[in-house]
Each structure stands twice: as structure tokens, then as C-alpha cells.
Symmetry: C2
């Protein structure tokens, strides 16, 4: 059985309204993509899934809107493919509060937010004022470790 149940249309509509966003087909569909799976998605991955239904430009703009409203956040990468993942409730209009780290599996290439792992405090040299810390761990994810053990 699949680990995550499909989000109902009601749920995504709820989420959009809560951010006072117009409820449109593309926004509902793209938000649902995020709810339907545990990892992060790149623009490219989303385009592959729904690119025949919605215009590329619409997908770009939808992602930007979601980031602006604090529905999703960006995850940096070393392969020129920014990923996006759902935010927790603490994020909202114009601000993001994230304390979790990001895990990139080198085998299945999925990216996950590890909400249970809190980012440590980083002590910087004099003169540097930190604002935000992003931690990116590469390795082998839960699924891939399990599959390899069989």
C-alpha cells in the first residue's frame, strides 16, 4: 500500500484559501503533487507530471507564488535544479522559518526534509552575521538502505 493517501480536493482548496489565494485548477493540482508524496520536487519534475495540462510559465509562476506565500520553500542544490518542498505551519506570507535539514539521496536522487533533525548553531568568525543556515546532507535514504539489505 502507498505510504501517503492522496490529498482530497477539499484539502488543497482549504490550504489555498487559508493563504487567500485564488483557487485555480493549476494551483490545486500542483499543491496536490506535493501532498501526494513525501519528498521535494523540482520545476522539471512537476513539468513532467503536469506539463501537458498546464503551461510551463504557469508552473513557474505558481511555484513562485507558493514560495512567496510560505506554502513551499526552496532547497539549494549542486546540480542546478532547485527543489521545492512543503512548509510547516510556521511559514507564512513573505517569511520562512525552517530549522530542519535536507537530505539528498545519491541513489534514488530524491530530496527529503528531515523535520526531526534540528540545524545546529554555527559559530562564525568575527564580522559575519548569520541570518539563515541551510544544511544539506547527501547519502543513502531510508528506502534505498532497506532495499539494499534485501
Amino acid at each position: 500500500m502507498p505510504p501517503v493517501a492522496a490529498a482530497t480536493e477539499k484539502k488543497v482548496t482549504e490550504l489555498l484559501k487559508r493563504q487567500s489565494l485564488s483557487v485555480t485548477a493549476s494551483r490545486k493540482r500542483i499543491l496536490q503533487l506535493f501532498l501526494d508524496q513525501p519528498g521535494a520536487l523540482s520545476h522539471g519534475a512537476i513539468e513532467k507530471k503536469v506539463g501537458s495540462v498546464f503551461d510551463r510559465v504557469t508552473i513557474y509562476r505558481t511555484l513562485q507564488t507558493f514560495v512567496d506565500r510560505g506554502l513551499i520553500h526552496t532547497i539549494p542544490s549542486a546540480d542546478n535544479a532547485i527543489r521545492y518542498a512543503l512548509c510547516k505551519d510556521e511559514c507564512g506570507d513573505g517569511h520562512h522559518r525552517h530549522e530542519h535539514i535536507h537530505f539528498v539521496c545519491q541513489q534514488c536522487h530524491h530530496t527529503y526534509c528531515l523535520d526531526e533533525v534540528v540545524t545546529p548553531v554555527i559559530r562564525l568568525p568575527k564580522g559575519y552575521s548569520p541570518q539563515q543556515v541551510e544544511i544539506l546532507v547527501q547519502g543513502k535514504c531510508k528506502q534505498c538502505t532497506v532495499s539494499a539489505r534485501r
Copy 2:
């Protein structure tokens, strides 16, 4: 006076030969760009500087070669612009060993390797095997903090 002296041609030639790389004009010039300043450079930034002299493709291939040989390393970003920075001596053919963090200034948009700040050990949930940890700190850099104080 400029803070960093220009690297001599001899020095870059030395570095290239040490990695058993052919010594060519583009490799010398691009390597010198890195030595002439303290931060990281994106492909775009390099192209702006020497794009009229060398072909775009040559720059891409030179950067890739340098990464492969352990001369420079990549720094992930959230703006689809991978940065490259010089490696310390511990890196070599096919492998990279980095323990430092990366600092991105939100004001001047430069990226620096903070070699004196060591990446802490990150404790992951069961099932995840970490291979590499990348830490990206955003904030205001030394220069920009000083300039603001004036």
C-alpha cells in the same frame, strides 16, 4: 591597494602541472581568476570576465576538468547558479574532502569558503546513511558589515 596580489603565471602553471593537466591559455587564465580573489565564482561570472577571449563551452569544460581533478569544488545554491571555489590540498583526482562551511552574503552576493569553521556532525534518524554534509550560511559578510558601520 588591491587586497590580493595577482597570481603569477608561474604559479598557475605549477598548479596545473601538479594535476598533470595540459597547460593551456584558458586553464591558466581561469585558474588565475580564482587565485586573484577570495570568493567563489559562478560560470556566469567567469564568462563575463573572459567570455570574449574563450568560448563558453571551453569555460564549462575547464570548470568540469578542475572539479574532476580536485582543483575546485562546487557550492550549491538556491538561485540556480552553482559557484566554484578553490580546493585545499586535501582534494585530488576524483575525490574531494571538505570540512568547511560556505557563506553567502545577502548584500554583496559573494560566496566565501569559511575554512576555519568546521562542519558539525549531524545526527540522522535511523536508516539514513550520511556521506557528505554541506552547510550554507546566509547573512552579511565581513566587508559589508564593516562598510555599513562607517
